[in-house]
């Protein structure tokens, strides 16, 4: 399964594909972040039940220093 994450293509096994698994696979578990799937925000409470499909576009963002 091909996903585009933060503008870059990435391949994943289709077997375990919800947003919670993706976060785990990307080593982002426990980090404070927000996720957009195809332009729609996925609330943290829905990570487990939000399934991913081939071609999905994701944005994963966090807070950084800024003025």
């Amino acid at each position: 399964m091909q996903l585009t994450i933060n503008g870059k293509p990435r391949s994943f096994e289709a077997a375990s594909c919800n947003v919670a698994n993706l976060v785990h696979n990307l080593d982002l578990g426990g980090k404070r972040l927000a996720i957009e799937l195809n332009g729609e925000i996925v609330p943290r409470s829905k990570f487990e039940i939000t399934l991913l499909a081939d071609g999905d576009q994701l944005e994963i963002v966090g807070a950084v220093g800024g003025g």
Binding site: K31, R32, R44, E59, V61, G62, V64, G66, G67
Partner: protein, 260 residues
């Protein structure tokens, strides 16, 4: 005496708001913010660096949410759509947090705000329940329009972002302050402590800065200087300055009892 800054129904003791960018490291960021006494700190929203950040500390680890009020910004956004999208992500990131700093830029060289896009974004965000502190040009008509839209604070520039040029148009700021029923804060352009004091003496409710502290040779020392300048400027404003006169025939020392 309690002289508190009130923004969107919440009160703050400090009238100095600070950014968290451009510091050498997170420890210096935290030390400077502690020295500044700021309670509200701006943060930017950016793509997470996947694969390289596992286990690395993050900014928020150094600025615990119990101790600071975050002000997520839209720095780097050049359209209303991008700004709105960024702040919706920020709201999700920060568990429903409503207080935000809206800025929509118009030009990468000057970082001057695009007020047409800013106004469009402000309308959407206010309707969506955000408490919008808005970075704007120092145009009194624009500032009033942003207030009418429902923004909770207007933040005109003193001079261009990161320029350190100080307050270039105190007259416009004064008109904005006179007309506003919401807090007016100077955002951008402050270079050194006297600039912050002047902003406060004009009657600003607060000052927001980043580069003036982070780009100082000693950021922590400058943060403390800014704290004092904002407090001194505020007190001077409340105290009411003496009128300016070209000269005075009324000396401060007694005119009688001179030895000759």
């Amino acid at each position: 005496m309690s002289d508190l800054l009130k923004i969107a129904d919440k009160t703050y003791r400090s009238r100095l708001l600070v950014g968290t960018g451009k510091y050498a490291d997170f420890a210096q960021t935290r030390a400077a913010i502690d020295a500044s006494g700021a309670e509200i700190v701006t943060v930017a929203i950016r793509r997470t660096n996947i694969g390289q950040t596992a286990g690395e500390p993050s900014l928020l680890d150094f600025l615990p949410p119990e101790q600071f009020t975050y002000l997520p910004n839209t720095a780097g956004c050049y359209s209303a759509d991008d700004a709105v999208r960024t702040l919706r992500l920020a709201r999700e990131l920060l568990d429903g947090h409503r207080l935000v700093k809206l800025e929509v830029l118009g030009d990468p060289n000057t970082l001057y705000p695009n007020m047409i896009e800013t106004i469009a974004a402000a309308k959407i965000l206010v309707k969506d329940g955000f408490d919008v502190m808005v970075y704007c040009s120092d145009d009194p008509i624009i500032a009033k329009q942003l207030e009418d839209i429902g923004c909770c604070a207007v933040m005109p520039l003193a001079s261009l972002i990161g320029s350190g040029m100080g307050i270039l148009n105190p007259w416009n700021l004064q008109i904005i302050i006179e007309n506003a029923k919401i807090p007016v804060l100077v955002d951008a352009g402050v270079g050194t402590a006297s600039d912050a004091a002047i902003a406060m003496e004009l009657g600003c409710q607060g000052v927001l800065m980043n580069t003036a502290i982070a780009a100082a040779r000693n950021p922590v020392l400058m943060a403390g200087a800014m704290k004092k300048a904002v407090e001194a400027g505020r007190d001077a404003y409340l105290a009411g300055r003496m009128p300016k006169k070209l000269y005075s025939a009324s000396p401060s020392s007694p005119t009688s009892g001179l030895i000759a």
